[in-house]
């Protein structure tokens, strides 16, 4: 089992979610994060002077998948839905998962997903 962590642009969330649902991913967890990277933050005004905001709002998606098939489908779905081609589109990280439990049913591992 693998865990996908994808950092994407916030306004892409809806499209990415739909792309994932389309390839059969039925569960995911989302959170609000701030990113630091090559993308330059926008400048803001403060009392008559401009300054640059360094941390940029991003959304982090966490999806645990049971096998490589789902893994690749999910990665492809995220890649195509989240891409704008402009700097700051984000990253996808894949981490190993050793064990999964569904709290409601006590189901484990592949069955819990």
């Amino acid at each position: 089992m693998k865990k996908i962590e994808a950092i994407i642009k916030p306004y892409k969330l809806d499209e990415v979610k739909e792309a994932l649902v389309e390839v059969g991913i039925e569960g995911m967890t989302v959170s609000e994060v701030k990113g630091y990277g090559r993308q330059q933050g926008h400048s803001e005004l403060y009392r008559g002077a401009e300054y640059v905001v360094e941390f940029i709002p991003k959304v982090k998606l966490e999806i645990v998948v049971s096998n490589d098939d789902y893994l690749h489908r999910a990665i492809d779905a995220i890649k195509s839905a989240a891409k704008t081609g402009k700097i700051g589109d984000g990253k996808i990280f894949v981490l190993p998962v050793e064990h999964v439990v569904r709290i409601r049913t006590d189901e484990e591992d592949e069955e819990a997903l």
């Binding site: 959170s31 926008h42 803001e44 403060y46 401009e50």
Partner: protein, 390 residues
């Protein structure tokens, strides 16, 4: 005691004017609460600047155009001006609220200048003012419109309709597959605070429009006007609450408040001449109009984030006509007033908006709209320290 009565009416006008100025934060908070948090500062800036720009141009140009002269015998002419000045921004507020979340500030300010210096003063001229069409076929001075169901509310809302037609809906609101995307209000306490400040301001708006309080009759008229104003607001709120509850077993506070505002708009034309029970009916119908008006405009893909068309346009028309139905006033005179002002306001606004749009486009670019107007138009975030949910 002419001197004391002059003083008393001056104080009364200043009191009424002050209440109306509470509508500036009223509109500002209402709209700031209704839009998404990324557009809050923009909406607040627009409201602030409308007050500044509209009042300034009314002072410099509009007031003379509307009334011909500054003279006044019954109260201080400065108080009379201030009372009228308090109205002007409202027409633009009504319009700006309905195009928020997608419109740039500069062109909106250009329109504000024209509205405050020309369009609104002409509407006033024809109804409450010097009346340059007196005696012509277009003379509408027989219309009874105490405090502007037509002159203020419809005028502003006709301008809004013109603006929406030119500017279009917010990005992503109407999806290609026909569904309507929901952009929930970001801050409900602000919505409530704003609506309540508007409600209180209405006492000054309508009560002050009686023009004098220093005789027994005028004192009675003022008090009755405020009472009737309030009653229609109560009825609007109650009816919407009932309808919502029957439909969904829930009380949608934003609609309830819009219902109250609808009732208040509707009673504005005739609050001084109704008996104390008629406003219940007028306000109740005003509330119903909002309940059915809001989804109606949405179905037409006329995207009005704050419901201003239902509150101010439909109810402005309804309220003006209601005077012809429930009071001893010619229905035809009312209808004629509604039509003349409506046609004038819509066409003149459309032309002006269209012309401005050629030079300084109203619509913000798509990327900035997505990112939010606050960062792109105001250079700041409204709640920079709070994490936004997904």
């Amino acid at each position: 005691m002419p001197e004391l009565s002059y003083a008393l009416d001056t104080l009364f006008a200043l009191f009424a004017m002050t209440l109306i100025i509470f509508m500036v934060p009223g509109f500002a908070m209402l709209e700031a609460g209704l839009v998404r948090s990324k557009n809050v500062a923009a909406v607040l800036t627009v409201n602030t600047m409308i007050y500044a720009v509209a009042s300034m141009f009314f002072l410099l140009v509009g007031y003379s155009l509307a009334f011909g002269s500054w003279e006044n015998d019954t109260m201080s002419k400065w108080a009379a001006f201030l009372f009228q000045m308090a109205f002007v921004g409202k027409t633009v507020n009504i319009m700006s609220g309905g195009v928020s979340e997608r419109v740039r500030i500069v062109p909106l300010m250009l329109f504000t200048v024209v509205m405050a210096a020309l369009i609104y003063p002409i509407a006033v001229n024809l109804t409450w003012g010097a009346n340059f069409l007196k005696g012509t076929a277009l003379d509408i001075s027989a219309m009874h419109d105490l405090a502007g169901s037509t002159v203020i509310h419809s005028t502003g809302a006709w301008a809004l309709l013109a603006a929406i037609l030119i500017i279009g809906p917010r990005k992503g609101r109407y999806t290609p597959n026909g569904t309507i995307r929901v952009f929930p209000a970001s801050n409900i306490p602000l919505v409530v605070l704003g609506a309540m400040l508007l409600w209180i301001g209405w006492f000054g708006f309508n009560g002050g429009s009686v023009g004098s309080i220093s005789s027994k009759e005028s004192a009675d008229a003022v008090a009755l006007t405020i009472m009737n104003t309030n009653t229609a607001g109560l009825a609007g709120a109650i009816v919407v609450a009932l309808v919502e509850y029957i439909r969904y077993k829930k009380f949608d506070i934003t609609m309830i408040l819009n219902g109250a505002l609808g009732g208040l708009v509707a009673v504005t034309a005739g609050a001084d001449i109704f008996d104390i029970y008629t406003p219940i009916l007028i306000g109740a119908i005003g509330g119903l109009i909002v309940v059915f008006g809001v989804p109606f405009f949405d179905k037409l893909r006329i995207d009005d984030p704050v419901g201003a068309l239902s509150v101010h346009l439909l109810n402005g028309v309804w309220g003006t006509l209601a005077v012809g139905i429930f009071a001893d006033v010619s229905f035809f005179a009312q209808l004629k007033g509604v039509l003349v002002i409506g046609i004038f306001a819509f066409i003149s606004s459309y032309v002006v908006l269209y012309a401005i749009n050629k030079f300084v486009v109203f619509r913000i670019d798509a990327e900035s709209e997505t990112e939010g107007l606050d960062i792109n138009e105001c250079g700041l975030e409204s709640y920079p320290e709070f994490t936004r949910t997904i």
